[in-house]
Amino acid sequence: MRVQEKIIEKILALCAIITILTTLGIILILAVEAVSFFGEVSMVEFFTSTEWTPLFTQKSYGILPLLSGTALTTLIAIAVALPVGIIIAVYLNEYATDRMRRILKPLLEVLAVVPTVVYGFFALMIVTPFLKMFIPGISGFNALSPGLVMGIMIIPFVSSLSEDALSSVPDSLRQASFGMGSTKFQTAFRVMVPAASSGIIVSAILALSRAVGETMIVAIAAGMQPRFSFDPTVPIQTITSYIVQVSMGDVPHGSIAYQTIFAAGITLFVFTFILNNISYWIKSRYQEKYE
């Protein structure tokens, strides 16, 4: 009996250790391929050149166009999701009745359930033609439309997590504020939001990380043209959509072109890894303040 119990425990531990192997696997394969990539391409060129043309005959390996594309769509998405998400979170937590909240919160979460390839279709078929009515010069593929749609997609991440943070602020703070004669609006933005700020920042960082790694919306609607530019009306390419583009073609294993997706991948991984760790750090450092 005792031996059997020990064996079961070891098997369960093994299941958990798979997650460590996954992380190690990701880091190792990205690093190995990237090292052999940087054996052929200088780091200086990678980080300073503004041309990314690994698939052309005239090859150039500057990641900046992909970074600018990624930053552009991410910024647009966050500019939509952060204010909207926080307003919704405050509304649901402070103003909405219990019944309203119970209906609205899951309905909003449907926004996060829709597969991203479907959002790409929406961006291309609905949002871009809609934008054309106001910005006649906008290209059929552009950064603005997928950025906006990505923003809509990540609203529930911000609103749900921020709402959780707001509702974990003790009621005594709210009552104290009301007792001083504050309105709900004053209570919400001068007491509750500052008190829940660490949770709200965590939600914003997670949304940011999500937008950086989002793939299909930009692959469909942003145009797949690497361009070092911050103009949201022209076609661009992000790190993720570049990886998709190469994966669909017939790039021979072991070639430099094949290794570029790992070099691009490790850049993406490093960015999201830093963001995730910042949010984890904030969470573990500040969350217990009110417990």
């Binding site: 009996m1 909003l108 929406f122 504050s182 309105t183 989002e214």
Partner: protein, 285 residues
Amino acid sequence: MNNAQKSRLLDKGFRYLGIGITILCLLVLAIFVGFVIYMGIERLSWDFLISLPSRFAEQSGIYTAWIGTVWVLVFTTIISFPLGVGAGIYLEEYGKKSRLATFLEINIANLAGVPSIIYGLLGLEVFVRMMKMGNSILAGSLTLALLILPIIIVSTRESLRAVPSTVRDASNALGASKWQTIWHQILPASFGGILTGVILALSRAVGETAPLIVVGALAYVPFAPAGPLDEFTVLPIQIFNWVSRPQEEFLINAAAAIIVLLLITFAMNGIAVYLRNKWQRKVNW
């Protein structure tokens, strides 16, 4: 207007802003879904579901795509369910105080934030190249299983945590061993929650496109796969393929396929929400 009046006005204004923006978001969702139904519903027919893909949009169907989706879903479940639940049990019941457990916890939180396309790169190198599985259903399923593992682990732990300690104490007091307590008491009591988490994770896997493209799921598969080592395509990739073409007919096909994909994901999420409500009401500790 004095200050008090101004703040009351602001208060009222924000109430309308809040409800307005919330409704606007739902309206956008409704417009999106309404548009895709309007565009694709006429194309949706029995023929569309059982036709192989074709160069001609009108004859093209999603048979290989949804068969591929079913295959991938089944294998992803078989792989990720025991691993995820096992890891969840270990972390929640066994490894609580150890340094390994703390490290595992941080690691899992990190994995949950890794972009899905990175898992595709992992699958491409490890399963497709090193283990020589090729662009097969198995390679795709293993990749998706690793992708959803963190979600399953986290939700398993939450369900286990919801079981009150009195159940554990009672079982221990009767002389049951640790594993007997887990297997006969805690797992049955938390099964509803675990199942809910697994279904939610799988509904995420159904919609994943990017990692499968990287692993090498094909856009054009002329025959439905018959085994785990066959090449395959899935619904989202078929949709992506059709969306990327300029012809209007293919876009209509894409809309019709999206209706099917949305039906599947909404149904899975609906089941999960239903299970969660039912289970929460039944188990009233």
